[in-house]
């Protein structure tokens, strides 16, 4: 399981470097990792901050990206017994990786779930701190072209998710539509419209699939955010 924690580190560093590049202070960069603790949503948020998107657009993009946690929570809630006091704690620290580990493990207790979650929380926040300091020490991020880390990171997140023809079609269509929309619409609107439209397209194209795709712990681990 060690590769899981190691995999979080470069992602956290990349996030923090980009956050500093987008003009966030060290405190603001760290606050997102403590208070939101959702890698892909944090990364997209700093990209949108940098592009001057409205706060509401950033919040709605975050909702769109994180609403998949509803499915993880439901799968976990069926297998791990949680009291009403434990539930909000388990929910606050829940991530794809923690879900993947907990779902794949035989030890389905609150203590094991929380231990997994907190170890990922600590790793993510230390990587954020390291990346934030690194970003401050980098003399000219623009000259180095560090903004290129942003599309690269999302390519790295996207590619492992694309396994079927429909998934490839949705990815290509979304990429083209967002590119076209971004030429005329400001801020985060192209991402939001494309995110909803592309997901509707995927759900419609798979309408004849008898059962919805089961939540596979291995794929949750691969989703890395």
């Amino acid at each position: 399981m060690a590769p899981l924690w190691l995999g979080v580190v470069p992602f956290g560093v990349a996030y923090a470097v980009l956050a500093r590049d987008a003009g966030l202070s060290l405190l603001e960069t760290q606050a997102l990792s403590v208070l939101v603790f959702a890698g892909s949503a944090q990364l997209s948020a700093v990209g949108l901050f940098g592009a001057g998107a409205a706060g509401l657009e950033i919040v709605l993009t975050t909702l769109l990206l994180n609403v998949r946690h509803v499915l993880y929570g439901m799968a976990l809630g069926r297998t791990v017994r949680l009291t009403s006091r434990q539930r909000p704690v388990a929910a606050y620290f829940l991530t794809d990786e923690a879900f993947g580990v907990a779902a794949a493990s035989q030890r389905r207790t609150f203590a094991f779930l929380l231990g997994t979650e907190l170890s990922l929380f600590a790793t993510w926040n230390l990587a954020t701190l390291g990346g934030g300091l690194l970003g401050a020490a980098t003399p000219s991020p623009a000259e180095l072209g560090l903004d290129f880390v942003f599309p690269l990171a999302f390519i790295a997140l996207l590619v492992p998710l694309v396994r079927t023809r429909v998934e490839l079609a949705v990815a290509l269509a979304s990429g083209v539509v967002a590119y076209v929309l971004a030429r005329s619409l400001p801020g985060g609107l192209p991402i939001l419209l494309t995110g909803v439209g592309g997901s509707l397209l995927g759900a419609w194209l798979t309408r004849t699939t008898p059962a919805p795709p089961a939540i596979d712990p291995a794929s949750a681990i691969r989703e890395v955010a």
């Binding site: 901050f49 499915l71 949680l82 539930r87 290129f148 390519i155 439209g197």
Partner: protein, 97 residues
């Protein structure tokens, strides 16, 4: 909306999604389960293409580096390898010959 108001909004929608799943007993209809499955694919793709070319007129180099990074992500499924390949190729291509 100020930075901190935006962060508060992000906190609410993220915690809300995580808590709702643990607290809910009913499953969403199959169509919406499939919708949720495609959300990361659609959003990640939508985040890539508008930012790919960049502001500095080095679009072709970045496109080539991104294609190799995508290949590296496909083969290794490791984020850090894709970042290293993409940035490494980009920096190599930028060296003036």
């Amino acid at each position: 909306m100020s930075f901190w108001a935006t962060v508060a909004g992000m906190l609410v929608v993220t915690f809300g999604s995580r808590y709702a799943g643990l607290a809910l007993r009913a499953e969403p209809p199959p169509f919406w389960q499939r919708f949720l499955h495609f959300v990361p694919i659609a959003v990640f793709a939508a985040l890539v293409t508008p930012s790919l070319a960049g502001p500095s007129g080095e679009g072709e180099m970045r496109l080539a580096a991104a294609a190799l990074a995508a290949g590296a992500a496909w083969w290794t499924r490791q984020l850090w390898v894709a970042l290293a390949v993409g940035m490494g190729v980009f920096w190599l291509l930028r060296i003036p010959l």
